[in-house]
């Protein structure tokens, strides 16, 4: 069977690229390892910086995926790909061979596994959750502590699995600073009585509207920011979590007990990104896929007919990912 263009991954970037190509008259096949597309986005409640409901985007992307020129193949992994006679030959997990002219890699990221930072107690103490768990709670509109009660104190910790050479990730994951500020505001909206703290090393409010959320979180919601990284967490007899940090701005060590410790987990390349980038010889730093040139040719690779879009290249926020997908589609069309 002959396919013109194959896109691997049906997250926001894969679907956006597919849709752009489809409306330009190209026939596209989108492979996704999960049955259902948009796995990461489906677990989000609200999006920074404007608190748009994530379900709005999910619905939009689902509609885009139904374009008549797009063939969606959910529940199918690409296990191998190689270049043969000027075409790409992809192998699926069912042993099927797919022959295509062009491939767009949109295999994305995976969240950092917080249990790797054992000292922070994720998977050990029930009061320690990740930003993903928090997002799921916010999606349900109910934030609870380890015994199902409403928490009176919530502490967020930035840079879990990012900027940490002990886990081999020296890079910044870019989205966690603003996500914590956003989640803190949402927690406070649900639980106005709760005390909310954010422990940080540096706050990187780089995007339009981010600084405003930061300021509003202080001014309108009373979120308190403490500059210090938490060294360890321990469970207490009453189901809370005791954390230790240095308040570096007063120069004093501090400890605090909290109902919830939220670990802001960073972004790592997904298994698919690592494996396929490796197979194609475009493996970059930390296992992300490497584009030809960050400035001028960020969607093309050293391999002919192989394009990249989205967070398979580096940590990206949704805005970045969507624009990047469009530019990948444009690059591909230019080569035709």
């Amino acid at each position: 069977m002959k396919h013109n263009i194959v896109i691997i991954g049906a997250g926001p970037s894969g679907i956006e690229a597919a849709h752009c190509l489809a409306v330009s008259g190209e026939h596209v096949t989108v492979f996704e390892k999960m049955e259902d597309p948009l796995e990461n986005l489906r677990n989000k409640a609200f999006l920074f910086p404007d608190f748009t409901s994530a379900s709005e985007l999910t619905e939009t992307f689902r509609t885009k995926l139904q374009h008549p020129y797009i063939t969606y193949r959910g529940g199918t992994s690409i296990t191998d790909m190689e270049r043969m006679d000027g075409r790409w030959v992809l192998t699926t997990d069912r042993g099927e061979k797919i022959d295509t002219d062009d491939v767009i890699l949109a295999t994305g990221y995976r969240p950092f596994d917080a249990s790797r930072k054992e000292e922070l107690g994720y998977g050990i103490y029930n009061g320690v959750v990740t930003s993903l768990d928090m997002e799921k709670m916010l999606l349900r509109g109910r934030v609870v502590n380890s015994i199902g009660d409403l928490p009176s104190r919530v502490a967020f910790l930035q840079c879990v699995g990012s900027r940490d050479s002990k886990v081999g990730n020296n890079y910044c994951s870019k989205v966690c600073c603003i996500t914590a500020a956003k989640q803190a505001v949402e927690v406070k909206k649900l639980l106005p009585e709760a005390e909310v703290f954010i422990f940080y090393m540096d706050l990187r409010m780089w995007g339009q509207g981010f600084e405003e959320i930061y300021r509003s979180s202080q001014q309108d919601y009373g979120i308190r920011y403490i500059r210090g990284r938490i060294s360890e967490a321990a469970g207490t007899f009453d189901g809370k979590v005791q954390i230790k940090a240095e308040d570096t701005l007063t120069g004093l060590p501090m400890k605090m007990s909290t109902d919830l410790l939220v670990l802001m987990v960073g972004m790592e390349p997904s298994e698919g990104t690592r494996m396929l980038a490796g197979r194609c010889g475009i493996c970059g730093e930390y296992g992300f896929a490497r584009s030809e040139n960050r400035h001028l040719y960020d969607n093309v690779t050293s391999r002919e007919g192989l394009y990249l879009c989205g967070s398979c290249k580096r940590p990206m926020c949704l805005e970045d990912v969507i624009s990047d997908a469009r530019s990948a589609a444009m690059e591909l069309l230019k080569s035709r």
Partner: protein, 123 residues
């Protein structure tokens, strides 16, 4: 002269132009990697000595990196070299090693305090 407690204080401003950071320079290129520090404070948070005294290892090594050596040698003598700071550092600074090196560097600069010299020699 009797001390009445009303003396004129020394200026508190750190005059960078007058700082002599030669001893800090001795640590540059050192394999402990102390110059990579981003002052996150995880070392102080986990410090065994800091929990029970006013010893703040991050402040102390930051002062050393700035070239402000007053009181640094005395403070460093409180460290028990347990190495927990080295375990938790996100920039993988070998702080335990850096502390030993800072002590060695400062040892020669405290000539008139035998007790302190003794401490600093006990690595």
């Amino acid at each position: 002269m009797p001390e009445f407690g009303f003396s004129i204080s020394k200026g508190r401003t750190i005059d960078f132009d007058l700082l002599d950071s030669a001893r800090t320079a001795a640590l540059e290129g050192d394999d402990s990697g102390l110059i990579k520090c981003m002052d996150c404070g995880t070392c102080t948070a986990t410090c065994s000595a800091g929990a029970f005294s006013d010893f703040s290892i991050r402040k102390i090594h930051t002062m050393f990196r700035r070239g402000q050596y007053d009181g640094v040698a005395e403070a460093l003598s409180k460290c028990m070299l347990c190495g927990k700071c080295t375990l938790v550092c996100p920039r993988s600074v070998n702080l335990r090693h850096a502390i030993i090196r800072m002590r060695q560097t400062l040892r020669t600069s405290v000539p008139d305090d035998d007790d302190l010299r003794h401490y600093l020699n006990v690595l």
